[in-house]
Assembly symmetry: C2
């Protein structure tokens, strides 16, 4: 598996934990230090304690919408990588940035930001893309 | 100058180019490859050509608002770093993620995302912070 594919695999695990409301899996995906997170409309969160607390709240909500990751694109820079993707919620689309760091062979999340986006869903490819212009 | 300080210095240069509508400076700040950019509400942009084209449009707009960077926080992971900060526009606040890669001793932007945020400006510190919880 190439670097881009292994990052996309970790990105898939993030969305599996998110849509499966699996807090234990979510906790394992995040790095231990210097993590940051910007949920749509929230104030930015700094540090593992505040970030994991936010996921505990979000994943614990009965009314939390299902999230599907569409059209992820990975860019790897040595032991760090970005994934930009579209999050398809039940009634809305968001654009997300996920930043990963490679620790002991595994990609761990150090940052997540999601915000409103203007997309035409029919233009979204079904397969992930790893190539850049 | 420590790593966090040098990343924050590059982040300041980004906002100086942004608010100064200095496209040449903006071009020099971005990396040559695998860059991505998510302007508020836009579709995500992939690759240097599309990203720089967007900055040419944005910086060329007569009505572009002034942007001031508030409360930036840097996290350095080897040769890559994230900065999370608040962008103060004339009538709104955004939260931004800026991702940098170190190339030949200089921090270059590989990713920018900005989106709406719910902040209380009086709670924003004036000085950048580099420490995490």
């Amino acid at each position: 598996m190439g670097d881009e594919e292994s990052v996309l695999f970790s990105n898939d695990r993030f969305y599996a934990a998110f849509s499966g409301k699996d807090f234990d899996a979510m906790e394992q995906l995040w790095c231990w230090e210097k993590v940051t997170c910007v949920h749509p409309g929230w104030q930015p969160l700094y540090g593992r304690e505040d970030v994991m607390e936010s996921w505990e709240v979000i994943l614990g909500e009965e009314s939390a919408p299902n999230v599907r990751c569409r059209a992820p694109r990975a860019a790897v820079f040595g032991d760090m990588a970005t994934v930009v993707c579209i999050e398809e919620l039940e009634s809305a689309f968001l654009c997300a940035t996920n930043v990963f760091v490679r620790k002991a062979g595994s990609w761990r999340l150090v940052h997540h930001q999601a915000g409103p986006v203007n997309v035409h869903p029919e233009e979204l490819p079904d397969e992930p893309e790893v190539a850049f212009n």
